[in-house]
């Protein structure tokens, strides 16, 4: 393949990959953040201690995390078809991508929030703050740098997942690499795809690290 032939394929693939990853990230944050907070609050000694609920949510998260993504992808085909109407194409892929990433992100959120000094929670309690106040004004803002780092890691995991989704009717760079690089034995195209993926991951990581540094610098040193 010449560069002129490769370019439109790479462009389309990149757009599709970014589209899938972006929306899957949004869904993952919306669902995973409350789940992570819930895991902390309902845990033993937590503000909303509820062992049965904690165990159930924890078990679901663990099952979600231990399933290999490729299996999840296939297992979710009926569900994806139910939600989107089809299981093929980038929009349909958002469903398994998000479901695969939510448990992963929820655990990262849980870890980030556990790091917050309990003294701060007590201080807000002593001011008469309730649980919603504690979550909104203490836990989330204080954990923000770690949460941003968690989002970065999740986005990168989703880029990896999205390439896998290419094998099961998705679109994006992964699908292009499989179709043109693997099935047509075009090693050059395969390598170029890999370079583009590496570039995307690097940019995401740099942006994420930069944001974390900016947030962490605030309040620590002058």
């Amino acid at each position: 393949m010449t560069w002129e032939e490769m370019r439109p394929l790479l462009e389309q693939g990149t757009v599709d990959t970014l589209y899938m990853v972006l929306w899957a990230t949004v869904v993952t944050i919306v669902a995973g953040l409350p789940l992570g907070v819930l895991l902390v609050l309902t845990d033993k000694g937590g503000l909303l201690q509820n062992r049965p609920l904690n165990k159930v949510v924890g078990a679901i998260v663990n099952i979600g995390r231990s399933l290999p993504f490729i299996i999840l992808l296939i297992a979710l085909i009926p569900f994806t078809t139910f939600v989107v109407g089809t299981f093929i194409g980038p929009t349909a892929m958002i469903v398994p991508l998000a479901i695969g990433a939510i448990p992963f992100f929820a655990r990262l959120v849980e870890t980030a929030i556990r790091e917050v000094d309990h003294g701060l929670v007590e201080a807000v309690q002593s001011m008469g703050g309730g649980i919603p106040t504690i979550v909104r004004k203490v836990l989330l803002p204080q954990a923000l740098p770690s949460l941003v780092a968690a989002v970065t890691t999740t986005v990168i995991v989703l880029i990896g997942y999205s390439a896998m989704a290419g094998a099961v009717g998705g679109e994006g760079l992964g699908s292009k690499a499989v179709t043109y690089g693997y099935q047509r034995f075009d090693t050059t195209f395969m390598l170029v795809t890999v370079v583009v993926l590496v570039a995307i991951v690097t940019i995401v990581q740099l942006l994420g690290d930069g944001a974390v540094r900016l947030l962490a610098r605030r309040g620590r040193t002058a």
Binding site: D117, E122, V124, S126, G128, G129, G130, K137, P141, R220
Partner: protein, 356 residues
């Protein structure tokens, strides 16, 4: 202002029960600075955290400013609306400050006001006013990470005062600070107590804190209050451990035929120059072996250990003279021969303890 009765707290861990508070009855009067002192593990922390119900007492009641908080708390683990409202009128400062590092100094002080639902402009005005009050007007835009320990505690105090509380709880507020900063923070608490009529309940393991600012004090051991009262009352109690720690005197007789007595000054009687009166009236030489005195409101309080010539039997009249003046006189046993009446040895009940 703050009354606890029969306050008991039992912790359970792995089937073992630990009694942190064992029937604590405490009474803090309005407008006073009350210090609870004790070693770590004595239950001080549990006590102060039970006052605003951060810790639920196992039994007993807590009343603050006429409101029975234990009744408001209900049965559940979560703090209900009524308890949260009551808490917002009790300020609290912490050993490790507990400021939000993600917020500026000003925003930290605004936090309790946000919880109370005060409007933005009003919050800002109050926060700046409070910063001025604690002497940090120029630090509004700084982050806690940029401040020294003493400055952080000033912010902690400003934040505790934002809700205009009548009561301030101080949980080892100076224990993480160096001696000089400790003094300046205590001075600030004292000023606030006087200016705003704030009632302060503080816990500490440092006797100096009690000495510097407390009107009243209580000594805690193994979950119980073993002594409690105003500083003058404690002084007037023979054998009081707290008085001995607050006003330590030492020294013993320089020769066999000497009488050593501890004279305690408190109340109205302490306004007269009794020692020189005694010397002139009986024409005797008096040596002062040791003294721990403070002048509070023009009155002297404290203790003095003096030596009179002659044996105890020969000094009945001069000692009677001192007692007539309203002073408390206790003979001190001479360690060498044990002539005088036995007095409980002044033990150092509070071993020096490093900041946690």
């Amino acid at each position: 202002m703050i009354t606890t009765s029969g306050l008991t707290k039992v912790y359970e861990s792995r089937g073992r029960q630990v009694t942190a508070l064992d029937g604590v009855d405490l009474h803090v009067r309005e407008g006073e600075v009350f210090g609870v002192i004790g070693q770590s593990g004595a239950g001080k922390s549990s006590l102060i955290r039970c006052v605003n119900l951060l810790e639920r007492p196992t039994s007993g009641t807590v009343t603050v400013d006429g409101t029975d908080l234990t009744a408001l708390a209900g049965k559940g683990r979560r703090a209900g609306k009524d308890l949260r409202r009551a808490r917002s009128s009790i300020g609290m400062v912490f050993q490790h400050f507990n400021l939000l590092s993600s917020r500026t100094v000003k925003d930290n002080i605004e936090l309790p006001l946000e919880i109370l639902g005060v409007s933005g402009a009003e919050r800002s005005r109050r926060a700046l006013e409070l910063l001025d009050l604690v002497g940090l007007a120029d630090k509004a835009k700084s982050y806690p990470g940029q401040l020294s320990g003493g400055q952080k505690q000033r912010v902690g105090i400003a934040r505790a005062l934002a809700g205009e509380p009548k009561v301030l709880l101080s949980d080892e507020a100076t224990s993480a600070l160096d001696p000089e900063t400790t003094r300046s923070i205590l001075q600030l608490l004292r000023d606030l107590n006087r200016q705003l009529g704030l009632t302060v309940l503080l816990i500490t393991h440092e006797m100096d804190v009690v000495k510097t600012i407390c009107d009243s004090a209580a000594l805690m051991q193994k979950g119980r209050i073993v002594e409690s009262g105003t500083v003058a009352e404690l002084l007037a109690t023979p054998g009081s451990q707290l008085a001995a720690e607050l006003f330590p005197v030492s020294g013993h007789a320089t020769a066999d035929d000497r009488t050593v007595v501890d004279v305690t000054f408190h109340g109205e009687a302490a306004t007269q120059p009794v020692v020189s009166q005694l010397a002139r009236t009986y024409n005797i030489d008096i040596s002062i072996l040791g003294a721990a005195m403070d002048t509070v409101g023009g009155k002297q309080i404290g203790r003095m250990r003096i030596e009179l010539p002659g044996r105890y039997e020969e000094n009945v009249v001069p000692i009677g003279f001192l007692r007539e003046r309203g002073l408390q006189v206790e003979p001190v046993e001479d360690p060498r021969d044990g002539t005088a009446a036995a007095v409980p040895a002044q033990q150092h009940v509070l071993a020096k303890e490093s900041a946690k």
